[in-house]
C-alpha cells in the first residue's frame, strides 16, 4: 500500500470546475440510470453523451479501476438496493408475474418513479396505480397482478400507519346522520378482482415473511420461482387493518366497503350510508340491522374516529 493519497497527486490544472450541485445532478443521473441487461453501466447517458466521458469529467481513476468502473460500482449498488427493497415488499406480485418479468417491471417503475422519500418504506407507494396502467408489464394475469400490488401496498400502510383514538361505544351510539367521521389511518380499503387475500397470506407464509417482534422480518429474497395456483375471478371487498400490532385481512360486503369509502372521502354519515347501499340487493327492511352489525364491528376494531 502506498502512503500517499490519490487526491494530492492530481495536478490543479486537471481539476474539474464543476460545482457541487452540478456534480450531484450529474452523478445521480448516472447512478440512477438503469443497467444494461448484463448489469453493466450503460455506455450512453439519457441525453446521449458518452458515460465514459461523463465519468471522466469528475471521477478520478486509480491504478485498478477507470472512472467509468468506479461510477459503475455505485450504479450497480443503487439498482441492487432499490430492486431488493421492492422485491421484499411485493413477494406475491413477484410470484404472480414471475421473477424476470418482475425485475423488468420494477426497473420500468423505478425509472419513472424514483424514490422521493427519505425512507425506502415508501418506494412502492405508486406501484399499484402504475401496475394497473401497464398491462404490458404483467402478462396474462394482469388483474391478479393489480390485486397483488394493491394488497401488498395496503400491508405496508396497515403495518405502521398512524393510529387515532377510536370513538367509544357511547359516542358511536350518539351518532347522527350529519356526523362527520374519520377512519382509522391504518385501515386500508381494497377492492379485488380475485380472492387474492388467501393467496397473499399463503405466499407470504411461504416467503417466511413473519410480522414477528418489531418488524416484518424478511428472509433473503430467493431466486426460486414460486408456483401460483389458479384462481377464479370473484369480486372481494377487503378491509386491511391492524390488531395487536399484526396486519389482518377482513372480508366485508360491498355495502359496508362503499360506506367506509364514502366516510373516508368526507361524506357525513347519512350520505355515506346512502352511498353504501347504491346498487344493493339487501332489502330495505334488513338494512338497519346490517348497519347496526357494522357499527358493532367498527367499534370492536376501533375503525372510526372523531371527524
Amino acid at each position: 500500500m502506498s502512503a500517499h493519497a490519490n487526491v494530492s497527486t492530481t495536478p490543479p490544472t486537471n481539476r474539474s470546475l464543476m460545482d457541487l450541485a452540478a456534480l450531484q445532478r450529474e452523478m445521480a443521473a448516472a447512478v440512477m440510470q438503469p443497467l444494461t441487461p448484463d448489469e453493466n453501466m450503460r455506455p450512453t447517458m439519457p441525453d446521449g453523451r458518452s458515460t465514459t466521458a461523463v465519468a471522466a469529467s469528475f471521477i478520478a481513476p486509480n491504478t485498478r479501476l477507470t472512472a467509468f468502473e468506479r461510477l459503475e460500482i455505485y450504479n450497480r449498488q443503487y439498482w441492487y438496493r432499490v430492486l431488493g427493497a421492492l422485491a421484499e415488499d411485493f413477494p406475491a406480485l413477484r410470484a404472480v408475474v414471475g421473477n424476470s418479468k418482475f425485475d423488468a417491471l420494477s426497473i420500468a417503475y423505478l425509472a419513472e418513479h424514483p424514490s422521493r422519500s427519505f425512507t425506502l418504506r415508501n418506494l412502492g407507494s405508486k406501484l399499484p396505480a402504475w401496475v394497473a396502467a401497464h398491462p404490458e408489464h404483467t402478462g396474462r394475469r394482469h388483474r391478479l397482478a393489480v390485486d397483488m400490488a394493491k394488497l401488498e401496498w395496503a400491508f405496508v400502510e396497515a403495518f405502521d400507519a398512524a393510529e387515532l383514538a377510536p370513538l367509544t361505544q357511547r359516542k358511536i351510539a350518539a351518532l347522527q346522520g350529519d356526523s362527520l367521521l374519520t377512519l382509522q389511518p391504518y385501515l386500508q380499503l381494497v377492492a379485488l378482482h380475485y380472492p387474492a387475500d388467501d393467496l397473499v397470506i399463503e405466499l407470504h407464509r411461504r416467503e417466511k415473511r413473519q410480522t414477528s417482534e418489531a418488524g416484518v422480518a424478511h428472509e433473503e429474497v430467493s431466486g426460486a420461482q414460486t408456483a401460483v395456483p389458479r384462481l377464479r375471478p370473484r369480486p372481494i371487498w377487503l378491509a386491511v387493518h391492524r390488531v395487536d400490532l399484526s396486519v389482518y385481512y377482513r372480508r366485508i360486503v360491498r355495502e359496508e366497503f362503499q360506506t367506509l369509502e364514502a366516510i373516508r372521502s368526507g361524506s357525513a354519515l347519512g350520505e355515506a350510508l346512502d352511498a353504501g347501499f347504491i346498487g344493493s340487493r339487501i332489502p330495505e327492511s334488513k338494512r338497519a340491522d346490517r348497519v347496526r352489525e357494522w357499527f358493532g364491528d367498527w367499534a370492536e376494531f376501533g375503525w372510526i374516529c372523531a371527524g
Binding site: 500500500m1 500517499h4 457541487l20 447512478v31 443503487y78 425512507t119 393510529e163 418488524g215
Partner: protein, 286 residues
C-alpha cells in the same frame, strides 16, 4: 470510561446494532448489552409494531440513534417532514447524541438511498458545515458525522479525506463517529495508508467508533457489514483508542446476520482494548 461533550459525556462501553432477527432473543433472554444503536429511519413511522417494540427495548436498554439519510453533503435542503420525524424520535429515545454520514445521497428530491462520497472541496466543506449546524440546532443534541467507505474519488478534490473531515467538524463544532472499517476500506480503494487517517483525525471530537466486517472483491472492497472484523481493522481500532481514549464502540452487522450471541461476542472483543490495562494490549496488537 471518560466521555466528551460530543457524546454528552456518556460512558457507553461496547454496543451492537439492533436488528430484527435478534428481537426474539433479546426479549426472551434479556441479555446484558451496554447499549444498542438503532437505525433512526426504521422507527420514523407513525405507529405500529416498530415503535411498540422500540418502546420495549427502551424500557431495558440504552439506545443511540444512527441515521442513514440526512445527507449532510446534499446540495438540496432536507425534507422538513424528515427533520420533524427525526426530532420526535429523539424525544422518544432520549438518545444522548445522534450520528449520520459525511456524504450526500439525494438531489432535487430524488433519493438514491446510498451513501455517496463528496468531492473534498472548500465548497463542499461550507455546504456540509451549514447543514450539520442546522440539524444540530434543530435537534438540540450533539451530532456526530461518520466517515463513509468510498469507491470513487473526484478530480476536483482539493484536500485529503481526513483534512476534509477535520475542516467540517471543526467549523461545524460537531463530533465524529469514526468508522475504522470505513477507513480501511477507503484506504484500500484509494491507495492511502489507513494509519495516516487514524493519526490525523481530531481525537478530542470522536464521540463514537464503528467497527465492522466487509467484502473483498478482485479490484475493490465493499463495505457490506456481513463478516467478522478483520485483524488490520482491529489494529486501526487499537490505534484509535490509544489516541481518543476509551470511546463508545459499536459493531455493525447488517447482512447474513448470525445469532445474537455470535454478534455480541464479536463486539465484546473490543473490550480488551478498552480496559484499564489496554495500553499494553495496544502495543501487543501492533
Amino acid at each position: 470510561m471518560s466521555g466528551n461533550r460530543f457524546n454528552a459525556f456518556q460512558d457507553h462501553g461496547v454496543g451492537i446494532g439492533l436488528r430484527i432477527p435478534h428481537y426474539e432473543h433479546i426479549f426472551s433472554r434479556k441479555p446484558v448489552v451496554d447499549w444498542f444503536e438503532i437505525i433512526s429511519e426504521n422507527y420514523m413511522c407513525d405507529a405500529g409494531r416498530p415503535l411498540a417494540t422500540l418502546d420495549r427495548i427502551l424500557e431495558q436498554y440504552r439506545v443511540v440513534q444512527h441515521g442513514v439519510s440526512m445527507y449532510f453533503g446534499s446540495v438540496t435542503a432536507p425534507d422538513p417532514e424528515h427533520l420533524k420525524r427525526l426530532k420526535n424520535l429523539v424525544r422518544r429515545t432520549k438518545t444522548p447524541w445522534l450520528s449520520d454520514h459525511l456524504c450526500w445521497g439525494s438531489v432535487d428530491g430524488a433519493y438514491t438511498h446510498d451513501l455517496l462520497p463528496l468531492p473534498y472541496t472548500w465548497e463542499a466543506v461550507e455546504r456540509t458545515v451549514e447543514r450539520v449546524r442546522m440539524v444540530q440546532d434543530y435537534l438540540e443534541i450533539p451530532v456526530a458525522v461518520e466517515n463513509v467507505s468510498s469507491y470513487a474519488a473526484f478530480t476536483g478534490s482539493e484536500m485529503t479525506e481526513w483534512e476534509f473531515l477535520t475542516e467540517v467538524v471543526e467549523r461545524a463544532d460537531c463530533g465524529i463517529l469514526f468508522d475504522v472499517n470505513n477507513v480501511y476500506v477507503s484506504a484500500m480503494n484509494h491507495e492511502f495508508n489507513p494509519l495516516d487517517y487514524v493519526n490525523a483525525v481530531p481525537a478530542d471530537r470522536v464521540a463514537q467508533i464503528h467497527i465492522a466486517g466487509h467484502s473483498k472483491y478482485e479490484k475493490y472492497i465493499l463495505d457490506t457489514h456481513d463478516h467478522p472484523v478483520i485483524d488490520p481493522v482491529w489494529q486501526l481500532y487499537a490505534r484509535a483508542i490509544e489516541r481518543c481514549g476509551p470511546t463508545p464502540t459499536l459493531l455493525e452487522w447488517d447482512d447474513h446476520i448470525p445469532s445474537f450471541d455470535e454478534v455480541h461476542a464479536e463486539a465484546k472483543k473490543a473490550q480488551r482494548f478498552l480496559q484499564p490495562h489496554a495500553t499494553e494490549l495496544v502495543r501487543a496488537a501492533k
